[in-house]
């Protein structure tokens, strides 16, 4: 630096700083992942409006729907406030929307050409995709922290294990959803189409997942859809974590958090969480494959 400055100050031509690009190595891949991840954070920080707008929907569900329907459902919730019941679902969707928007930035990057700058770099495409998914997961989890902070408004007591548990699950869900979004974005060339996908896939996923209702005694068709909805496997453990920190009656627990069953067998929480993880890894794999196969 100082040599360059001195040269310029004297008016003499600055010596040429020649750099050499090293051969590809594990370290250079890590650097690439890190810089793609950091770019997501920088952009998130610059888009304060996005932070606010993506909070709107979860808050509407939580407070408007939660307070409004409380009148109708009070009899059947065994004394649990409806807001408390749907809070775990809202924790999931806030992460989901933010993660999808992060993935959508790939479509923007393509439209504005920046994707090309990343695609021609001498690093593996998988590093770019992994960096992107980590970035989306981090940004969405940061957003989730705001929702965790609202726990007191729905009578959920704070505790370290609750906060850590919820945060970890949000991080995992956000990663899987970003992987899903990136996988979709690999094929989608226009922002409008991506928004269409959000309406067509993400909204139904949310409604079917059981974020707003218990998943027992559903009509057959809905039970089927519920079991194949990946989000179901994130909402259920999230609810278990939250309810684990509440003082609930046996009936309330059984009615409101029955757990997911496969042909009568109750799926353990660990398997639910593993399902989210496994789906995320599969979609990450497909996303990497898609970006590798494009020229």
């Amino acid at each position: 630096m100082s040599a360059t400055e001195a040269g310029t100050a004297l008016g003499a031509p600055a010596p040429v700083v020649t750099v050499r690009v090293p051969p590809r190595s594990f370290r250079s891949e890590l650097r690439a992942i890190k810089v793609v991840w950091r770019r997501e954070l920088i952009r998130f920080r610059n888009e304060r409006v996005r932070i606010v707008t993506s909070l709107a929907q979860p808050l509407l569900f939580l407070f408007v729907l939660g307070s409004g329907l409380q009148q109708l459902s009070a009899a059947s919730t065994h004394g649990v406030d409806l807001k408390t019941f749907i809070y775990p679902g809202v924790l999931c969707i806030s992460v989901m929307f933010t993660a999808m928007f992060s993935a959508a930035s790939i479509v923007w990057d393509r439209e504005f050409g920046f994707l090309r700058e990343m695609m021609v770099a001498p690093v593996r495409r998988s590093s770019i995709v992994i960096g992107k998914c980590f970035g989306g997961a981090t940004v969405a989890s940061l957003q989730g922290v705001i929702l965790i902070a609202l726990a007191w408004t729905v009578d959920v007591p704070y505790s370290l294990s609750l906060i850590l548990g919820v945060f970890a699950l949000q991080l995992l869900l956000a990663f899987s959803i970003t992987a899903f979004g990136v996988m979709a974005a690999a094929r989608i060339k226009q922002m409008q189409s991506f928004m269409g996908l959000m309406q067509l896939v993400v909204m139904p996923m949310f409604f079917i997942s059981g974020a707003l209702f218990p998943v027992t005694e559903l009509p057959g068709w809905l039970a089927f859809l519920n079991r194949i909805d990946p989000l179901t496997y994130a909402v259920s453990p999230m609810r278990s974590i939250i309810f684990g920190h509440l003082d609930l009656s046996k009936q309330a627990e059984a009615a409101l958090n029955p757990g997911i069953t496969w042909f009568g067998w109750t799926v353990p929480m660990a398997l639910e969480i593993f399902t989210v993880f496994a789906l995320g890894m599969v979609m990450l794999g497909i996303a990497i494959w898609e970006f590798n196969s494009g020229e």
Binding site: T8, V16, V19, R24, R31, K34, F114, R116
Partner: protein, 331 residues
């Protein structure tokens, strides 16, 4: 010194459409090599193959000594790219864009800051380094793209239409940087353009039309091949002048637009002889040299502008081809 770029019978087809039909050439290290031709001639497709963005359908090419198919990564580490369309992140600052590039290319940490300063100062954007790229004008963005392409000291810099859509002043300054680069850095520059006047700045140019190279040489040599310079003289007695030119120099002259006009090789050397030997007064003389327009015309039978206007079909196919390439394709 080995050639910076070596291309043999390179081909690319999109379905039935042959965008590049077997081109071959060599670019020496340190050269400024230009690809000239109308839109849709196959210039961008060729550059995409050399940059490893498109796989050749046939033939082979090496860039900086590495095969573009077998050693894709090695090629990428040694080239800088400035595309026709912008590829900057508008939400980041100029410095953030360059830093991101340096990270992706694995530039040694301690060299990032001085190298960044050097390339930004070269294109006159050092003072604006913390400005968001969204707020930059078109010319500033192009300059930043060039600076970014140079961040990792590439052996070969590819510039695809670097001055398209820019005003003449910015075009001139970009040419200033390119000449400066050639002097200060150990670099080969490969560029495409469809501006005839810019092609003159290149050391050598290849003229491309319909996927083939129709001519390749220095601008001077190409113009000489077209042949003769055109001389126009005004005299008091055109008829006598025509007869005298015929008698003394054996040249056929005619009257066009009110002046005696004839073609002669090496016009500059001929003019003094003309005055000395014609034996009659000349009121004025003008000499015009062939331009690259004439060169293009002589090889393709059309001017570059006419070629673009009548080539709508080829351009549509080119656009289709770009879409086929997905990821990096132009919309």
């Amino acid at each position: 010194m080995p050639a910076a770029i070596s291309v043999k019978d390179l081909r690319k087809s999109f379905g039935d459409f042959e965008a590049v039909r077997g081109v071959g050439f060599e670019v020496e290290a340190g050269e400024v090599f230009g690809f000239l031709g109308p839109n849709g001639a196959g210039k961008t497709t060729t550059i995409n193959m050399l940059c490893t963005l498109a796989k050749p359908s046939g033939g082979s090419a090496t860039v900086a000594g590495f095969d573009v198919v077998a050693s894709r990564d090695d090629v990428r580490r040694h080239i800088g790219l400035v595309f026709q369309d912008p590829t900057l992140d508008g939400y980041l600052t100029a410095a953030q864009n360059l830093r991101l590039h340096a990270e992706l290319y694995g530039v040694e940490k301690g060299l990032v800051a001085p190298r960044m300063r050097q390339v930004l100062e070269m294109v006159g954007l050092w003072e604006r380094r913390d400005g968001q790229v969204l707020t930059f004008s078109g010319g500033m963005r192009r300059r930043l793209e060039i600076a970014r392409g140079l961040m990792h000291s590439p052996r070969v810099l590819f510039l695809d239409e670097p001055t398209i859509g820019l005003n003449p002043q910015t075009r001139n300054s970009i040419w200033g940087y390119i000449r400066q680069l050639q002097e200060s850095e150990d670099i080969t520059i490969f560029m495409t353009t469809h501006y005839m006047d810019e092609a003159e700045f290149c050391g050598r140019i290849a003229i491309m039309d319909h996927g083939e190279i129709v001519a390749l040489d220095t601008p001077e040599a190409l113009k000489e091949q077209v042949g003769a310079d055109r001389i126009r003289i005004e005299t008091d007695d055109d008829g006598a002048a025509i007869a005298a030119i015929e008698a003394r120099f054996g040249l056929a002259a005619g009257v066009s637009e009110g002046a005696v006009t004839f073609a002669v090789p090496d016009g500059e050397e001929f003019v003094p002889r003309l005055f000395a030997e014609l034996g009659m007064p000349i009121r004025s003389v003008s000499l015009s040299r062939p331009t690259l327009d004439d060169v293009f015309m002589s090889h393709t039978g059309t001017t570059i502008r006419d070629a673009e206007e009548s080539d709508g079909g080829a351009r549509t196919k080119n656009k289709f081809a770009a879409q086929m390439m997905g990821g990096g394709g132009r919309r």
